[in-house]
Subunit: 393 residues, 2 copies
């Protein structure tokens, strides 16, 4: 049996749990964090380097690959795994979010979505069935349904329509799926409306998906709202199926979300902040351009077992950033992904040994999260900077 989800242990004072997600390209220990390689490359890194961080599954993006290099090309090259040289499990996002956020003129009907490429302005039309066909051609291990992703502060009628449409499309995706080796996940939407989140989750829970995702969160709403939506949604999702919170990846959010019952995460955050000089430490995120690191003859994080910290001083990484040397972006990306993989490993161990809550409390007490106001500013700045291929992930 190379497909399915098996829960191995449960925390008794939270919804946290550990498990194994079995895929055609290997097993994945959950809770898991997936680095993102939207365009078939985890930015700046080779597959071996991604593996060396401890990552077991990565995420690629159907929207990006459809536009460039094209689904047919990837299929001709033997599928996505062979094309990019990654032999482990791959989760492909459907591109619903990217169509609405990156492309211009996204026009949606019940039939499907018309949009213009953010690369060359060319016009495209896609149905939920197309998206399944594309993901089957890519050969990913976990496919996502096409969802309708309205702005988180959209008007209630628009959000309600998006929820019913996402549910209707989810059903069509299930029916269109012919591959038996690839898993298919539904996506709960509903923006920040408690009623719509509940409706979306309850409706999708009736369908025979291999797992369930929560989409449309962490897009500008405050943290309290994010957790509220999660707490409303999780109990309505099938308890024995994997739960995937899309696009969430800051260390503190991972810890919080696991305690709320999430099994799978992906985010561009560790690699994106890395390329801007932001590096995770157990004390919080530092910026390597800070003058404190200029002369520091110690690793970025003492005791860290990543390639960067084992081989180079913070001063050298700082020099690379100040000099515009691309190796700096690599070393920072390696460190951040390794940090999150290490964190997920600690989370899994603490769940198994029954002290997850103690771990969570200790971690959050020590880890100084980025100030909420700064975080929102950075997020909005990033969202506003799209469309643009540099913002692909």
């Amino acid at each position: 049996m190379n497909k399915g989800f098996f829960i191995e242990s449960r925390d008794t004072s939270s919804l946290a749990r550990t498990g194994v997600l079995k895929t055609a390209h290997g097993d994945v220990k959950t809770p898991v964090f997936c680095p993102v390689g939207s365009q078939a490359s985890v930015k700046t890194l080779t597959p071996e380097e991604v593996t060396a961080t401890g990552a077991e599954m990565i995420l690629c993006n159907t929207y990006h690959l459809y536009l460039r290099p094209g689904i047919d090309l990837v299929k001709t090259m033997g599928g996505l795994h062979r094309f990019m040289g990654w032999q482990g499990p791959i989760l492909t996002d459907s591109g619903g979010f990217q169509i609405f956020s990156l492309s211009s003129l996204a026009k949606i009907t019940d039939e499907g979505v018309t949009f213009r490429s953010h690369i060359d302005g060319s016009k495209h039309f896609m149905t939920p069935e197309d998206i399944i066909f594309y993901q089957q051609s890519l050969g990913s291990d976990i496919m996502m349904v096409l969802d309708d992703v309205p702005p988180h502060d959209g008007n209630p009628a628009r959000i309600a329509r998006a929820v019913s449409r996402t549910t209707a499309w989810a059903k069509r995706c299930l029916e269109a799926r012919t591959s038996q080796t690839q898993q298919l996940f539904g996506i709960v939407q509903g923006a920040t409306s408690p009623e719509l989140r509940v409706k979306s989750a309850a409706d999708l829970a009736q369908m025979d998906f291999d797992g369930f995702a929560i989409g449309g969160l962490s897009l500008g709403e405050d943290k309290q709202t994010t957790w509220e939506m999660l707490d409303l949604t999780i109990p309505l999702m099938p308890a024995l199926k994997p739960r995937y919170l899309m696009g969430v990846g800051s260390p503190e959010d991972l810890v919080e979300s696991v305690s709320r019952g999430v099994d799978i995460f992906d985010s561009v955050l560790p690699t994106r902040v890395a390329r801007n000089g932001g590096l995770y430490t157990t004390e919080g995120r530092i910026n390597i351009r800070n003058s404190a690191f200029k002369n520091l003859d110690r690793p970025v994080e003492e005791g860290c077992s990543c390639y960067t910290c084992k081989n180079f001083s913070a001063a050298y990484v700082a020099h690379l950033f100040r000099s515009g040397e691309l190796l700096g972006l690599r070393l920072a990306s390696i460190h951040n992904i390794h940090f999150l993989q290490n964190l997920m490993g600690q989370i899994r161990n603490s769940i198994r040994s029954g002290n997850f809550i103690q771990f969570k409390t200790a971690f959050l007490a020590r880890y100084r999260a980025v100030d909420e106001e700064v975080r929102q500013q950075q997020k909005q700045k990033w969202l506003a900077s799209k469309p643009g291929s540099n913002q692909a992930d």
Copy 2:
């Protein structure tokens, strides 16, 4: 004895020879090509990746490291080898060429040179003695004297002054050197003047350098002139000392220069053209953005044993370039440096086995060099684009 040069074999129909250059950080088989890491990083690559290409020695730049991160900082961090994590031999260029080409307002007197940083415009003064002191602090294995590098088309009086000054400075560098483990090379100048090249080489040959370099060539003069200057100079240089042709690195030029008696090369060319999508093959340099590679389910070069060709199709490398993915720059850089290391290995083998001339003829017959006019245009465009830190190497 961890310092010195030992000739192992000589070609009978040319000046080509093989040898071993012994340094405090290991032996180097010559003829050797050194990848360039001006700012203490071979652009985009880790030390392990550079080693995997077969490279035994790299070049760093005193001018760049003096400006950023600073000589004292590198010294405090335990020297250049430890700072950048490269345990093999390092040759440091003095920065003479960079001072005259990158910085603005370079003002030269017999005492030394005053210039403004290309990074922040700050004013600096350096003597030949300073340059030796800096390189001793960096701890490189081979140090270069400070030279006066006039434009190749400068007026005869200016070039004549530059030659006498370079000779006078060379003597001061020799006297200033206190390190016994680091080697020091003199630099022959003279632009494209046969008389001045001869004078420069003859004068320097009287001095007790560990090796002799030829500088100020391949800077815009035509190829015939380059070879003419080389042919005039080489016979005047001590036959038992290593000969280093600075800044030359195209495959066809390496082959031609070895036959003229050169032992050591460095050039930014393989990594710079790589970042522009130019990849070496035995047939010539291709551009990976060419549509022919978009669907090519074969390595960039069939049979190539580099990491890139062993693991990825040309189509994937092409996709990375078209998508702006930095991994593409890495894969191209690895391929090109590996190509040159492989070429140097073939050159050494053919010299040892007495068929260098056959190898040279066969290689040049097959390798289609970049058209001379295009080459000059690219070179002038590059030279004109300076100063700028992105053009550092």
